[in-house]
Each structure stands twice: as structure tokens, then as C-alpha cells.
């Protein structure tokens, strides 16, 4: 055993992994749960009868709606125009008639305008002209015209990202897909390999770099093999793949950059400060379709999965598909009248039982009846949706309403039934420091949480609240089940509000 490795093991400050060869320090290893959907081919989810396309599906200014109620639109037609530099175009995902705008909740709970279009199922398609050998300016314009945004979940307009302020020498493609359950990027890497690589080539030209690295986690050997095969068959040397250690959050920007290039993005900085730009796999694929085929961005591959659902899978879902339709397509149930009636029965029986106990009356047969009805309820709860998450279990947002619709940045719809969604009670912090042990940004979450509970924002900032990437490692490993991410996110908001 090398002496240096021995010394590193003993005095290793890195907590967790002993070798940092293809990974970053700290982090956690949640169960992957990818087997549910990783071998399922991407299929087309049928377009719903009505789509509710959110006007805000990105970071940036709200685009202006350019269609009116009653107007007929085609699939792929512009319905909201980007307003300003940091904004994006929105396109219709079906052909049909525009209805009046509705205010519906977004996945994070905020209400926003949604353009409602009634589908006439004729799928008349509007495409832009194909580009065969575009220049950099043409590429950037096409990326903007087709409304390409960061499809990893953040939704930053790609054409702005391709024009960074600092000089950049490498393009990183984020194929890590570290979140449990999500497999959409993996399926794209397997089924659309050629289009993906060509899309990466377009992105390289748009960014004006000569080197691109696709970072892929080790648990996707098929994808690595297939991409490598395509690259070697076509003698492409400017793009390479790099297998990364399987760890969460390997796909987080700063951690990915460190793992691939060993450069550190300082707290508060951007990847372009260290000469790197990171893009998601799906962004590259959509860029290819936009340039080669003139397709505007109105649909995306979404993984619909969860422990209890019968038919999980990866689907091409049109923007604006209500989550209720998605749930119905995979055969999961929502709380209907039967479920509600059963729940009321169980609640009524419970209160009757309590009353009988207070009056000191015999409870045996009532108890048996209660048990039977409760078992029936639990049976129904097994394939009824109790929690819908936009994204993965670590960083996804739980949706409060089934009227929320899919968008360019919804990469996964995670459906959990009652048992999977139940949470353990919160107990007192035992000062174990496991949260600090796993934090990939070297923060001290227990201190931030303690100061947040005391409303001491200055000290919360001192222990790193603003540098938190909200990955969820700390709350995942906390034995006391404290909601650390919620606490830190709230501190961030208050620090900004109080301008500390």
C-alpha cells in the first residue's frame, strides 16, 4: 500500500471516499432506485385533450404572450416571445385553438399564467428551416429561436450561457444523473447516441471551444460503452467520456467540474470563472433537433416512476400536459370518491372507538371492524398517489396540486404512495455532526439550523448559508430527521431580504 495513500486514509480530511480520482469530497450514497425505469424504452405519451403551457419555465424575465383566445395554432408555433436578453420563447405543444389564459400553480407552488390550448389532434407541425453547416452566430440565433433552456431543471437560457463573460476552454456535458429514480438522460444516451453527439458538436461550436467531456456515472456502463463506440467509429477526438464515481450529488455543477477538471468554482462564482461551461444531456439533444431539423422545444423526455406504480417509464411528454393525465397514463390512481368515502369511514370509526373507551363500554367488536376497514384503506393507499414530486427525491419539489403541468424543465415525475411519503417525526439534534461530515460544500448545517431557529441571520451567513447548493445531503443523513434544507433555504431568503 502506498505510504501516501496510507497517510491519506489516516489523516484524510475528506470524509467518505478514500480516493478522489474521479469524484469530489464528501457526499452521500442514497439507494439509486433506477432499476424501475432504466431499461424501459422511451415512448411517446399521447397528447392530452387540453394543454396548459406555463409561461414561466425558465430563469429570466417573463415572455410576452403573442396569441389571443380563439386563435388557431400549430404544433411548434411561437405563443410567447422572449422579452429581453435573459428570457426564452415558448411554443405550442399541440395544434388546436387557444383558450383564455388561466392562472395555475407551478411545481414550486407559485401561481403563474398558463396558456390553454385545446387539442384538435391533427398535429399540424411548424418547423424552422434546417441548418446544414451553421456558423457560430447562426447556431446561437437558432438556439435562442427554438427556446432551448437548461433542461437539467434550472432552465437558464442556453444561448446566454454559450456567450460567457470569461474565456472558456472546455464544455462539460452533465451525464451524471446522480438523483435517484431519474433515468431520462440515461435512456437518451442509449437511444439517441448519434443525435446527442452531434448536438454536443453544435454546442461546442456555439461556445467556440475545442474540447468537450461527457461525465457519466459508473452505474451506467452501457451508456459509456455506446457513446465510446460511436465516438471511436467516427474518429471523434474532441469529445471524450469520463466515468465518474457513483455518488450524490455528482451531477451538481461545482462537484461535476471538480471531478472532471479538478478546478474549484469559488463560492458565489460561476463555472465560466474557471473556464468551464456545463450543459445537460437533454439540452444537447434538443439543440441537435433544433439545428438539424428545425424543431422548436415543446416536448421533452420525462421519467415517470415511483415505488408503487405499475407501469413506470420514460416518455416524450408535450409541454403543458397536466400531472393528472401523466398519473392516469401510468395506471396510478388518485384519491377518488371511493377513497374519500373509505377514509371518512375509518375516521368516523376511530372517533367512535375513542368515545366508547371514554364511556368505558365494550370495544372488542368495534375494534375488529375498525381494523378491517383500516386494512382496506391501506390496501387502497398502496396504489393511490399521495405525493407528487417534480424531479428526484433529493432536490425535487413536491407539488401541491394535480393541475400543475409539465414543462421544459420537469425531468421527472416521482409518484409516491402513502407509505413511501410518510415522514418520521422530527427529534432533537444529537450533535452527531454527520451533516457536516457529508456536506459537499464544507458547510456546517447544524449551526445554520440552530441560528435560523433563533433568527440570527448574521451568524447563519457566517456558517455558510449562502453557499449551500440545497443538495439535501445533510437532511438525508440526519438521524434526528431535522428539516435542514428547509431551514437553510429559509435562512437564505431572510439573509437576502435583510440585506446582510
Amino acid at each position: 500500500m502506498r505510504v501516501s495513500l496510507l497517510l491519506e486514509i489516516v489523516f484524510c480530511f475528506r470524509g467518505g471516499d478514500l480516493e478522489l480520482k474521479n469524484t469530489f469530497a464528501k457526499g452521500i450514497h442514497p439507494p439509486g432506485m433506477k432499476e424501475l425505469s432504466k431499461d424501459i424504452n422511451i415512448t411517446e405519451m399521447p397528447a392530452p385533450k387540453t394543454v396548459y403551457i406555463p409561461v414561466v419555465q425558465h430563469i429570466g424575465a417573463k415572455p410576452e404572450i403573442v396569441v389571443k383566445a380563439g386563435q388557431a395554432v400549430h404544433m411548434g408555433q411561437l405563443i410567447a416571445k422572449a422579452s429581453g436578453a435573459v428570457s426564452t420563447n415558448i411554443f405550442s405543444s399541440v395544434s388546436g385553438t387557444v383558450k383564455p389564459v388561466q392562472i395555475l400553480p407551478l411545481p414550486n407552488g407559485e401561481k403563474a399564467e398558463h396558456i390553454v390550448i385545446e387539442n384538435d389532434f391533427s398535429d399540424k407541425y411548424d418547423k424552422l428551416p434546417k441548418l446544414s453547416d451553421p456558423t457560430r452566430e447562426q447556431l446561437l440565433q437558432r438556439i435562442r429561436d427554438c427556446g432551448i433552456v437548461g433542461m437539467g431543471g434550472a432552465g437558464f437560457p442556453t444561448d446566454i450561457k454559450m456567450k460567457p463573460q470569461k474565456p472558456v476552454d472546455i464544455l462539460l456535458i452533465n451525464g451524471a444523473e446522480c438523483e435517484p429514480y431519474i433515468t431520462c438522460d440515461y435512456r437518451i444516451m442509449l437511444e439517441y447516441t448519434e443525435q446527442l453527439v452531434k448536438g454536443i458538436a453544435y454546442l461546442m461550436k456555439a461556445l467556440n471551444v475545442e474540447k468537450a467531456v461527457i461525465g457519466i456515472e459508473d452505474n451506467k456502463p452501457e451508456a459509456i460503452k455506446r457513446i465510446d463506440l460511436y465516438l471511436s467509429n467516427n474518429n471523434i477526438t474532441s469529445i471524450t467520456t469520463m466515468p465518474l464515481a457513483v455518488k450524490y450529488p455528482q451531477g451538481a455543477e461545482k462537484q461535476l467540474i471538480y471531478a472532471v477538471t479538478k478546478r474549484k468554482v469559488f463560492n458565489g462564482g460561476l463555472p465560466s470563472d474557471v473556464g468551464v461551461v456545463v450543459q445537460n444531456i437533454h439540452t444537447a439533444l434538443s439543440t441537435y433537433f433544433a439545428v438539424w431539423d428545425g424543431q422548436t422545444l415543446f416536448r421533452r423526455v420525462v421519467t415517470v416512476t415511483g415505488g408503487g406504480i405499475k407501469k413506470p417509464g420514460n416518455f416524450w411528454i408535450r409541454n403543458g400536459t397536466p400531472v393528472l393525465e401523466i398519473i392516469k397514463h401510468v395506471g396510478y390512481k388518485v384519491e377518488n370518491e371511493e377513497f374519500g368515502a373509505q377514509k371518512e369511514k375509518v375516521d368516523a370509526l376511530f372517533s367512535e372507538l375513542v368515545k366508547l373507551k371514554e364511556d368505558k363500554q365494550p370495544v372488542k367488536e368495534k375494534q375488529a371492524e375498525f381494523k378491517q376497514e383500516r386494512e382496506k384503506l391501506e390496501q387502497m393507499q398502496e396504489d393511490t398517489v399521495a405525493k407528487v414530486i417534480n424531479g428526484g427525491p433529493m432536490m425535487g419539489a413536491a407539488m401541491s396540486s394535480l393541475e400543475t403541468a409539465s414543462s421544459k424543465i420537469m425531468s421527472c415525475v416521482l409518484l409516491l404512495n402513502h407509505k413511501e411519503a410518510s415522514r418520521e417525526p422530527i427529534t432533537q439534534c444529537i450533535n452527531c455532526a454527520k451533516c457536516a461530515y457529508v456536506c459537499p460544500m464544507n458547510l456546517m448545517p447544524m449551526y445554520i439550523d440552530a441560528y435560523e431557529l433563533n433568527k440570527d441571520w448574521a451568524n447563519a451567513k457566517k456558517y455558510g448559508a449562502m453557499d449551500c447548493i440545497q443538495c439535501g445531503c445533510c437532511a438525508y443523513i440526519c438521524p434526528a430527521k431535522k428539516p435542514l434544507v428547509q431551514s437553510i433555504a429559509y435562512s437564505k431568503k431572510m439573509i437576502k431580504a435583510n440585506k446582510i
Binding site: F11, F13, G15, H58, I59, A61, G84, A85, V86, L106, N108, G109, E110, A112, G153, A154, G155, F156, P180, K254, V265, F266, N267, G268, G269, L270, E335, K387, I389, P393, M394, M395, A398, S400, S401, L402, E424, T427, C429, I430, N431, C432, A433, A436, Y437, P440, N442, M444, G464, M466, I469, Q470, G472, A475, Y476, C478, P479, K481, V485, K499
Partner: protein
Amino acid sequence: MNKMIVSSSPHQTKKHNTRTIMLDVLIALVPALIASVLFFGPRVLAVAVVSIACCIVAEFCYNIIRAGKFDINKIPSYSCFDGSAAVTGLLLAMNLPSTVPLWIVPIGAVVAIVIVKMLFGGIGKNFANPALVARIFLFLSFGVVMTTAIGTSGNLIGVDAASSATWLANRSANGNLLMMFLGNTGSAAFGETSALALLIGYAYLSIRKVIDFRMPLIIIGAAFVFALLFDGLPNYQGADILIVSVSHVLSGGLILGAVFMATDYSTSPNTQVGNIIFGVCIAFLTIFLRVFSSLPEAMSFAIVIMNLLVPTIDKYILPRPYAKAKPQVAAADVKPGNTSPTGTDAAAKERAANDKPADQPANKQEAE
């Protein structure tokens, strides 16, 4: 209208909680308990059971008094059932001689649970290791009773282990290292004898990731080095140096303290560098006090002294930030948007847009 469960991310957590961690510690102590029964007799079990029961009862009484009223529905959520009282009880028992009169045990339990832990805020808030403070309290207050209690009650194998004096009473190079490793030797507390059993517990805790496996190694390694420096090299020659140093490591509560007491969550520092300093200082203090003071066994004092210094260590030793910020940062041309989706891109760019003007007003004015 369907009602969905909404909560903050992450939506799935690791399947452990405080109780399972405490259960793991209890399981890790079982080999040492079995070894003690083999060497000191079944009375050890009586001491252990009484100690655990007294600790749980003490915490339960404290919970009830604090709750004010007797509400039977709230009782399962009392802190006495989360396992930490049981762990304190077992550790306290392992720090006592095997023939300690049983009336002393509840006194120790009250000191450990009520005074050291509950009065300061409960689990996670104790200022020192409860079992060790109770041990020191008992040895200082009931010194005569404790030292005459070191006898045997009929052990099951081997030589009369407990009736022989501990190696620390008169240190020499004649210690039988193998016997000390296995545990067949005298000791002031029945939990400390068998290094082998304690190391089995250490292996279990490391595999279950309850403790960081490096901490006890650092303490034991540093103790060996300090024993070489303070006792081995000055006083002995040749191979005796090593024998004496190893004897130091194997005797007294060193391994028990290193594996179970120094790694206690709330009384050890929260950073890795802090833990290294903590461990090295514990090793230094225990060997120093053993060799140069009149205390035969100093591990408990060393750990408690360092426990008191942990808040200072935690105040000044903080982890390095992920990357230091460069002095000049150009304000990005990103305008804040109407939505705030989560994600690293969003956070970084929003911060770049919002924070730079607020954080560095001097720069902005300079630019203007």
C-alpha cells in the same frame, strides 16, 4: 380536489434514526459485557441491569417532572425511550468495579443523566460524557468503598483476574501482554479489561458507520507514541520500552474510552481537524497524568477535561470553505427573474445577480 402531501426536499432519508444508532452502540458493547462475565462473574450482569434501569428511570422521572402533567399519550415520545439513557447506563456500569455495592449505582445514574445531560438540555447538549463524569464523581466521593470493592465474585475461567492489582498500580515491564489483550487481568472497572472484545465492538461500529473509524486509531496511536516518550524511553531499556508502551495502551480505560467515550457525538468536536486535535490531546493528557501524577488511571479525567474544551475547539476550528473567493468579481449581466426554481444554476446565477451589488458596494461605485 385532491390533497397532496407537500413537504420540503429531500423526500427520502436514510433509514436510521437516533434509536437505531443507540441500539448499535449497545450491540457493540455486548462482546465486552460477555468478556466481563467470563472474567468477573455474573454479578457484572446485575450491575449492568441495575445501571441501565436506573438511568432510564432517572430520565423518565425528569421527563415527567418537566412535562408537568401526566398525559399518557405523550409518554412514548419521552426522551428516555430513545436509547441514549440505556447507552449511558451500560457505559456507566462498565466503568465500575464488578463488586460495587448496588446502592451506589443509582447515585451514579442520577449524576450522569440528570446533572450532566438533562439539566443542560437533553441529548446533544451535555457538556461532558455523562458516564465518565459519574464515574469520577463516584470514585472521588466513595473512594474507599470503590477501591475495596475490587475483588472477585467467582469468575468462570482462568486465574483470579479481579483480585490481582491492575498493571497501572505498579507499572513494570513484566505485564503479560497477551493476558492484558484478552482481558484476563485485574482492572478497576470491569468493562476495560478485554481489549479484544472492545475491538470487536469497534469493528462493528465502524462497519455500521456509527463512528468514524479513524478517531479511535488516532487516540490509540497517539497514546502509544506518548507512552514511548514519557514512560518507555526515559525509564526502560531495549525491548522493555515497547512492552511498557503497549501495556499502557492495553490497560486502564484507554481502549474503552477511545472507542466509546471519545467518539460520543455531543461531546466531541464537529470537524475532522477538531477531532484530531481532541484525540491527540486526550492521549497526551492520559499518559502524562498516568506517568507524572499520582493518579493510576487518568483516561476519564483526560476525556472530561477535553470535553470541556470542545466548545472552544469548535469555535475556532471550522472547515475550510469549498473555495476561496477571488478578490475582484465582475457583476454578471443576469437580471433577476420572476420565478425562483431550485437548482445550482439558479442559485449561482441569482446570487451573481443579486449579491454582488449588495456585497461589494465599493466595487460598484468604483466601476461607476
